[in-house]
Symmetry: C2
Amino acid sequence: MKIGFIGLGVMGAPMARNLAAAGHEIVTSLNRSALPEGLAATVVPDPREVARASEIVITMLPDTPDVGRVLLGDNGVVGGLSAGALVIDMSSISPIATADFARAVREKAAGYLDAPVSGGEVGARAASLTIMVGGPASEFERALPIFEALGKNITLVGENNGAGQICKIANQIVVALNIEAVAEALVFASKAGCDPATVRKALLGGFAASRVLEVHGQRMIERTFAPGFRVRLHQKDLGLALESARALGVALPNTATVQELLNACAARGAGDADHAALVQALEVLANHPVAETRGVA
Amino acid sequence: MKIGFIGLGVMGAPMARNLAAAGHEIVTSLNRSALPEGLAATVVPDPREVARASEIVITMLPDTPDVGRVLLGDNGVVGGLSAGALVIDMSSISPIATADFARAVREKAAGYLDAPVSGGEVGARAASLTIMVGGPASEFERALPIFEALGKNITLVGENNGAGQICKIANQIVVALNIEAVAEALVFASKAGCDPATVRKALLGGFAASRVLEVHGQRMIERTFAPGFRVRLHQKDLGLALESARALGVALPNTATVQELLNACAARGAGDADHAALVQALEVLANHPVAETRGVA
């Protein structure tokens, strides 16, 4: 199938490669960069031409304004859509703006799915992304073979556009708050003189067990803060959470606190570190690094 | 072995039964109640007599002042200890007071382990408790056969008394904050119109996965708030966390917020509900019950 793919960055490039490997023909417009290594694709001048040349257009862009510009801007995707086309936005962006984008696409008698992912660059390369989808079931069915070339845990969250983005935000809330929970526990235990590695291991046996305790807890202890998922990106995602929550009328007290702690991390120069570096904000507040008690037990 | 067991409540009674089943002779003093059903034990007048009649004394009591009274009060355990005896406090209490209790016991040339548990009544009955121990390795080795009759995941957290209590507090911090994280995510997604059961399932596939998302997330969706572990007890444990953190010089911002949300739950009459009922505090703030969108997808 001819698939338009706009946004060949850290995530988009391996995703497009996986689609090409599955036999699809990739059409793209390049913004400033060259085609990523190992990807054969037809290059056209702008997003409108991508839409004209494709049955399905995928966008994988950094943030809400980028998707707005690519879809609705001058020479944007919407200007080139034929009736029956399908736009799949796999970026992680505002669910509120998503509803507007979907409306504009549907005015051209085309379909729209929001389908943000989690699993990072590793998941993108391994075609093991978690994909959370919002939109009509018929459009989801049509896109399913594409999703299956990109990921493993694929869920139609709801038939309203934005449901995928909402689910992704819920995911980012839990991950961020679980990281902060582990950080509070390890800084506390470490300053009390306990070996954080022993505490982590003991906690993994019970109700405190989580993927975050396993992976990010280990990062906090080993001080391996190379990303992974960057503080800066989690700031963006919690920004979406807090903005959407305000619009919806939902109070998210701990999401707000964690966003402020991420802001503190970024302020101290860790914006491009892995989000497990959140522990550093609590270490500064406690005037105590977790690593200090490593191996005391 | 002759084991003194003081505190035959919801947790203590099945633990004492498991020790009797392992061939130990149980000695106890009854406070106000009769011997629990199915437990054969020698009953003596007070904790001092329990200590006089036992090689090892286990305490399993509700809170710090109870342990203080039983160990150091009139006719308390310390008054009856012989040199070489061992006191094992399996209550969840203050790590600071624990250091004082250990000092008083050691003045009688007896040993002291703090060994709080997690796993609740179910774990106590099934002899599958997680046991987190603080104290000298030699005393831990001596107590190990007893721990093995009571639990499965047994860790010597540190050789200083209080390390077990610190680890238990770290556990309770993570569990409480993970519950609150899941509650924020589900209330948010639900008020945005998503089916919380679908969101929970999608999140279980990625980095948001946790025992709390699995178990307590399900309770929030199914509205099954029969305990389980009570709001009231988690309030006590986070009280220990915040009090110890202040003494140690550690800031626990989200533990503080979650304690306030638990206070709100208790204020609204849910003090004896399962701690998953924490979601109700966020539902009240959002003016939206999670259950409302059940099955909308």
